[in-house]
C-alpha cells in the first residue's frame, strides 16, 4: 500500500472525500483561533502599533505562496517522470490557490509597509520577489488555459514550472543584489530554532500558519477532484462522439 496507489483517480477521490472534512475543519479551527487570538488577544508593538496584527495574515500567506509553487514543482516532476494525471491536475489545481496567497502577501505587505515605510509600494527585495512570483503564477495559469490538448498542456506547464523555478531562485538573488532593502529579517527562522518575533506574537502566528497550510491542502484536494471530474467528463464526451 504505497503513496502511488493514489495516482489512480478513483482511489484519490475516495481518499480525498474521506480526508477533506477533517482538513477543512482543521483549517477553519486554526484560522479562527490563530487570527482571532492574533487580532483580539495580542498587544500592539512598541514601534509598529496595531499594524503588527497584519503579521498573522502576511507571513502565513507569503509562506504558502512559496510552498504552493514548490508543491507545483514536485507535482510537475512526478507528471513528467511517471505520467500520473492526478499529479498534473493537482499542480493545475494548486496554482490559483498559490496566486491568491501571493496577492494577499503583496497587498498586506503593502498596507503594512505604508505606515512603516511611508510609501504604498517599495521596491524592497522581498516584495519585489513576490511580485515576480506573481507573474510566474499568471504565466503558468495562462499557459494551461491557452493550450487545447490537456496532456500537452500538462507537459508544457510542467516544464514551465521547472524552468520558472530556476529563474525564480535566480531572480531572488538578482533582486537582493539590485536593492538591499527595507524588510526586516525572517520572522520565524525555523531552521535555526531561534526567532526574532517575541513569544506573545509567536503562537498565534504559528497557529495561523498551520491554518493557512490546512486551507491550502483542503482547497487543493477539492480542486484536484474537480479537475479529475472535468477530465473524465471530457473523455466520456469524446468517446460518445466517436461512437455516435
Amino acid at each position: 500500500m504505497s503513496l502511488w496507489e493514489y495516482a489512480n483517480p478513483v482511489k484519490f477521490l475516495g481518499l480525498s472525500a474521506r480526508v477533506q472534512p477533517y482538513v477543512w475543519g482543521g483549517a477553519a479551527l486554526c484560522l479562527i483561533v490563530g487570527l482571532g487570538w492574533g487580532f483580539f488577544g495580542t498587544p500592539d508593538d512598541y514601534r509598529q502599533g496595531s499594524t503588527v496584527k497584519i503579521i498573522y495574515l502576511h507571513v502565513p500567506a507569503a509562506l504558502m505562496a512559496i510552498n504552493a509553487w514548490f508543491m507545483m514543482l514536485v507535482a510537475s516532476l512526478v507528471w513528467l517522470i511517471r505520467r500520473h494525471h492526478v499529479s498534473a491536475l493537482a499542480a493545475k489545481a494548486a496554482a490559483p490557490v498559490g496566486v491568491t496567497m501571493t496577492v494577499i502577501a503583496l497587498i498586506t505587505g503593502a498596507i503594512w509597509g505604508q505606515p512603516m515605510w511611508g510609501t504604498w509600494w517599495a521596491w524592497d527585495p522581498r516584495l519585489t520577489s513576490f511580485l515576480i512570483l506573481f507573474l510566474f503564477y499568471l504565466g503558468y495559469i495562462a499557459l494551461w488555459e491557452a493550450v487545447e490538448d490537456p496532456d500537452t498542456a500538462a507537459d508544457l506547464t510542467s516544464v514551465l514550472c521547472l524552468v520558472g523555478s530556476v529563474f525564480a531562485v535566480l531572480s531572488r538573488y538578482a533582486v537582493k543584489f539590485w536593492n538591499q532593502g527595507l524588510h526586516q529579517g525572517t520572522s520565524v527562522p525555523l531552521a535555526t530554532g531561534g526567532r526574532t518575533v517575541s513569544d506573545v506574537f509567536f503562537y498565534p502566528l504559528l497557529i495561523s500558519m498551520v491554518g493557512f497550510g490546512l486551507l491550502f491542502l483542503a482547497l487543493v484536494l477539492y480542486r484536484t477532484g474537480t479537475e479529475i471530474r472535468l477530465r473524465r467528463a471530457r473523455a466520456l464526451l469524446a468517446r460518445s462522439e466517436r461512437g455516435a
Binding site: F40, D44, G49, T100, A233, L236
Partner: protein, 50 residues
Amino acid sequence: MMPELGKYAAEVLAAYGVSLLLLAGLVGLSLNKGRKARATLADIEARKDG
C-alpha cells in the same frame, strides 16, 4: 470587544478585510466550479447509461 487599534485602525482593518475577502472568493469560486463539474459529470454519465 474590538481592540484599541489606534491610529492604524484603517490599515489593519483593510488588510484583514481584503485578505478574508480574497480567501472567501477563492473558496467560493472553487466550490462553485466543483459543484458544476459534479453536475456535468453526473449528467454525462446518466446519458451514457440511459
